[in-house]
Amino acid sequence: MSRLIIAAVSGGLFGAGLHLSGMTDTARVRGFLDLFGAWDPTLAFVMGGALLPMALAWRWAQPGAVSWSGAAYPARPDPQITARLAVGSVLFGIGWGLVGLCPGPAIAALSYGGTSGALFVLAMLAGMAVAPAAGGLLDRRAAAA
């Protein structure tokens, strides 16, 4: 039960932070990506602000320690840069640039983005649904190359 409460508080704080920071505004997000135009640095401050508490949290979440719920902390990820990581990140960046929504703000946009926000989320869910099959295809191509 307490795991669910933590998830609710965490999701709510995330949403409040997006609202407060202005990252619900797709024009502001696209403005950050418009490096060679009317550049808007706000997103860099949001990212910088978010990194501070998280860097502290990782100092506590060392191997051997356990979280409040008793669950182990995630292990250090494999440092390998895979085809999935590179191709996936390129695709993500293109979609992010086209509309100015990434997954967190897209879900939050269900509350204020009207039909545009809903259509984006539907397409995003479809993209996620085909990802396992697309990933398998990519792995076979990478193995053959």
């Binding site: 202005g22 619900t24 995630p74």
Partner: protein, 136 residues
Amino acid sequence: MTAWLWGLAGGLMIGAAAALFLLGNGRVMGASGLIGGLVDRSAGSRWAEGAVFLAALVAVPAVLSLWSPVDTQVTPAPALLILGGLAVGLGTRLANGCTSGHGVCGISRLSRRGIVATCIYIGAGIGTVTLMGALL
């Protein structure tokens, strides 16, 4: 207060949310992972945690917007929304992370994959916005 100060304050809240999820539940707060885990059912027994997280992520901005209306300019063009949504959904699941997972949670632990992914998606985003600005 100017935009960057609001950005910093909101960013601290987003980081606090991620820190709480890590220290409380022992998990990385990645939006694409939590959504995708429900879509392809890889979340397993943790589906309720993801569902509650996402419900709060929708509900809190909805309530806050009653006091301060959300300034947003989501494009009305269906083609952009569909293409963009597909690319974001497919891309973040292939890369196993987005702005929150690779960006906030990965960079803060100096994860090589998180740093590389963030450089790639910001680069691709800058390329896309620049190209659109030149063509449209």
